[in-house]
Amino acid sequence: MKRRKFIQLGSALAGYGLLATSCSNHTKRKIAGEIIGASSQTGHLLRDKQFETPPISEQKEVVIVGGGISGLSAARWLHRNGQTDFLLLDLEKHTGGNASSGTNAVSAYPWGAHYIPIPNNDLPEYTDFLTECNVITGRDEKGLPVYNEYHLCSDPQERLFINGNWQDGLIPQYGLSPEEKSEVKRFLQQMQTFREAKGNDGKDAFAIPVDSSSNDPLYTSLDNITMAAWLQQENYHSKYVQWYANYCTRDDFGTRSDVISAWTGIHYFAARKGNGANAKHDDVLTWPQGNGWLAEQLSSPLQPYIRTNALAVKIIPGDKQATVVYYDINTHTLKAVAAKQCILATPQFINNRLLDNKVRTALVDAHLHYAPWMVANLTVSQLKERDGAPLSWDNVLYESFGLGYVDATHQQLQQLKPKRVLTYYLPLSTNTPKEERLAAYKRSHEDWINILLGDLKKVHPDIEEKIERADVMVWGHAMAQPLPGLMHGDTRRRLQESINNQIHFAHTDLAGISIFEEAFYQGIGAAKKVIGS
């Protein structure tokens, strides 16, 4: 019954596909901008081409493949521990992965992840890093971290357009009946109970990194059902609660609540326990360029070790050393580096192509599915506003197929901002990832603009005239989907095992959820294996 409701919701969301075709004839003027690829064309070389192995031209102790947060974190950890004979390869012009960013005359802006929640206090390596980059400026008398006010998200943080009005905050309140409000309250209270819960092994029921969570079946059994099924089981009937849960799972995991694991859906709420002198667990840290700022903090001291425009094409394990073959995009030549140790900080569907390993390939194909996303950055002049709460950092539309937009200029301090950059997020979660990915690659710039205009005109009727430029990025494989069974099944453990004690793995798809902390600790974990062997 409830499930059918979700399917109905899903098909309502599917409307955006139709919207694109029906609206495309009505665009009054061509909006400037382009589709910016996460080098998918270069990446597809890997899929479509066979590569020879050239003679070895270089010798390194360690080669890290992939310059996302996992790879950069691994590099940082090696460097801090005295390992300076290493090389990091990345196929893009700049490192950063999902935390990449862009910049124009108005502001820097994110192309992917754009914030971190207040860190849990039991993650010393992580808080050390944040202290290094002055996000944590000190400790108060109770030992609680003091967060840099310039990096904490400025007030007003979030608003939701619901029942014809912008309300403050994202949890539906405006226009709800007392019964619906009390159901929302019950949901939040239940999440708070999960936040405090400990398993029979004494561990937190929901922890970060996910692998330090309790193994108590009372909680791990939640990984066997979907979030939507769990909501039904717990008698949540309000469409507002269902919308909010679905919004949250799409926001963090690009995955609808009727397909995501309930354990992961709850983890989104229950794993955040941070507490600071001037911030609580529901506060966030953000920058105009999003997590691109953190990626810069990680990468800037490591520049001598980073080689960009370098597409790894083959990893060959050996007795004493592994051979890493990469394609130098600058010179159009294949090169080979010998490394005693290798860290693959690349997603597992890529590793399938780098490594000739049938067991891993079968596991990955069976269990890991990657959600596609579209992200657009819109440079706009002053927009017309609906009634209610003023423009905030995160601006969400109730029951929209998109996730709304984030104002990249929000953290700018000046009084007047005649122009802003708005980052629009759309997880392509209506159909299967594969179907969505194929459809996404076919859409033109104009198609994407019509999709997002159809969404945003509800709240800014004049947005079409006010957009000066709109660039679009399509992430074909943005993040692994935490479907039931992934978190507490066997797959992740098996994929995390090193090969020959020589090739190690670090990526958020091995954690199952794509969040900064997981990437950070994936990198440290792999680096520790390198140092230990």
Binding site: E149, L152, C153, S154, Q157, N278, L413, Q415, L416
Partner: protein, 508 residues
């Protein structure tokens, strides 16, 4: 035949009735509007009624010069009354804020409508004189005239002003006049000369009034944005704000976006209280920083100290500082303070400027608008005050204008708490500024042990040793015992307090 004549007679008498109603309505609209904007309703109504009746007499007198085509003239006058009377309130609303001689326009409008109405009755009587017996004619015309006046005087206060408002009332009756004219044009088309031209004119008038009727809210809004109590001597829109300066016999006032910034009548109370306590607390300060204060009045007070070597003023709006550096009437008020070679002006965003600043100042005067939104609220935040601390010498003193502690005690003490959290020792004080009400300031310094000064610079009109003592004393109704949140960039509690307190106050 007889029946037709009788019909025509009643038709024309109905026209008299409508003309009489409309005429009185225009008069009442003018009187009410003049009372609204000029005050003194007794004077306004009596002069307007006088002018109106007199101008009707003028119209009656002039009627003898109309000898041919009486019906055509009647209709032409009818249309003209509809146009002038209908638009009279819009003309008056729009010209009041911008025209120096508003009264001239007011009486001209009243005079012309009165004269036209005055013309109509005699002309109509002459049209009807061959159709009705004289004693009957006089009786009927004046009966309808006076009934129309009674109707007007009753529906104007009971129905029209409450439901339509002044602007739509005059337009509504303008439309009635034009419709009557159009109907008569149609009815007597054979007797009218230039029939087509008149019809076109009538349709155009009607359309203009209908459009104005529909848009009356917008016109009203626009005119209200122009309306100040005193004549405007200067107004301009900059990229940041609308600046307006008004003047009457007593005082000159500056408005930014319609909010009063100062009145020349009592601004000395505000600026003496804002500037002298921190300047004296800083003990012979040399380098002074002013943020906001683009009117140069704080700088005027600062320059009274011979120890001052430089004044750095940061104000966002170049148009504002230019205005107060060039206009003679304003230079007169700020004593040409911006022209003093010690003064350097930066037209930059205050937060960005302070963050990039590496100089140290002995005294800082912070004179921003009240924290009424999240944008301005940042300039009252913990982070801003941390930067302020960095910009202040060890013995330096800053002062923050901190809204009214009487209207908004939580807001005022929230600024105090925030300054303390940023490491300052604070000295809050307040005084009475008639234009603003009870107003508050907070001194912020790095060293404890503030001593109120024994003497102030010569020539002070408000501040002295005794008033300073009074200013430091806060009665119970300017305090709050609630625990207040510090105003931070990520939690702008001050904006919430401010909205709540001033919102409640203005609702009363």
């Amino acid at each position: 035949m007889e029946q037709k004549k009788s019909n025509e007679q009643w038709l024309l008498l109905t026209a008299v009735f409508i003309i009489a109603t409309c005429g009185l309505i225009y008069e009442l609209v003018a009187g009410t509007l003049a009372s609204y904007v000029l005050g003194d309703s007794v004077t306004q109504f009596s002069t307007i009624i006088g002018v109106y009746l007199f101008s009707m007499g003028v119209g009656s007198f002039l009627s003898k010069y109309f000898n041919k085509h009486l019906l055509t003239w009647f209709i032409q006058i009818e249309l003209l009354v509809g146009l002038i009377g209908g638009f009279s309130s819009i003309i008056l609303f729009l010209t009041f804020p911008v025209a120096a001689s508003f009264r001239l326009i007011l009486y001209a409008v009243v005079f012309f409508t009165g004269m036209l109405v005055g013309l109509e009755i005699p002309i109509l009587m002459r049209i009807l004189k061959d159709k009705v017996e004289f004693k009957d004619l006089v009786s009927k015309v004046f009966t309808f005239d006076y009934i129309g006046a009674l109707l007007a005087s009753l529906i104007f206060p009971l129905l029209l002003v409450p439901y339509l408002g002044l602007m739509r009332t005059s337009l509504f009756f303008g439309i009635m006049n034009v419709l009557v004219g159009m109907y008569l044009l149609q009815k007597f088309k054979t007797e009218i000369v230039r029939n087509t031209a008149l019809k076109v004119a009538a349709v155009l008038f009607l359309l203009a009034e209908l459009v104005a009727f529909v848009l009356s809210d917008k016109i009203m809004h626009f005119s209200e944005s122009l309306v100040f109590n005193d004549p405007i001597i200067y107004s301009t829109s900059t990229p940041y704000q609308r600046i307006a300066i008004t003047r009457n016999k007593k005082e000159l006032k500056l408005f930014l976006n319609g909010n009063l910034q100062f009145s020349s009548f009592d601004e000395y109370r505000y600026h003496e209280a804002l500037v002298h306590p921190p300047m004296l607390a800083a003990h012979n300060p040399k380098k002074i920083l002013v943020m906001g204060g683009g009117d140069g009045l704080a700088v005027r007070e600062i320059l009274k100290y011979p120890s001052v070597e430089s004044v750095t003023l940061v104000d966002l709006d170049a148009a504002m500082t230019k205005l107060f550096s060039t206009q003679p009437v304003l230079l007169n008020i700020n004593h040409s303070s911006f022209l003093n070679p010690k003064v350097k002006i930066y037209n930059q965003d205050a937060f960005i400027w302070l963050r990039n600043n590496h100089d140290v100042y002995d005294c800082a005067i912070i004179d921003f608008p009240d924290p009424s939104n999240f944008s301005i609220g940042k300039l009252y935040s913990y982070s801003f005050y941390q930067l302020l601390g960095r910009a202040l010498s060890p013995n330096g003193t800053a002062v923050i204008q901190s809204t009214s502690p009487y209207v908004a005690p939580k807001s005022f003490w929230c600024v105090d708490e925030t300054l303390k959290a940023a490491g300052f020792v604070t000295v809050p004080y307040h005084n009475y500024v008639p234009s603003f009400g009870e107003w508050g300031y907070i001194m912020a310094m790095k060293q404890p042990g503030y001593q109120a000064p024994d003497s102030f610079p010569a020539g002070m009109r408000f501040i002295n040793k005794e008033t300073m003592q009074q200013m430091l004393n806060f009665p119970e109704d300017m305090k709050t015992h609630q625990k207040l949140a510090i105003n931070r960039l990520n939690n702008q509690s001050l904006v919430e307090y401010f909205e709540q307190e001033w919102g409640n106050y203005l609702d009363q």
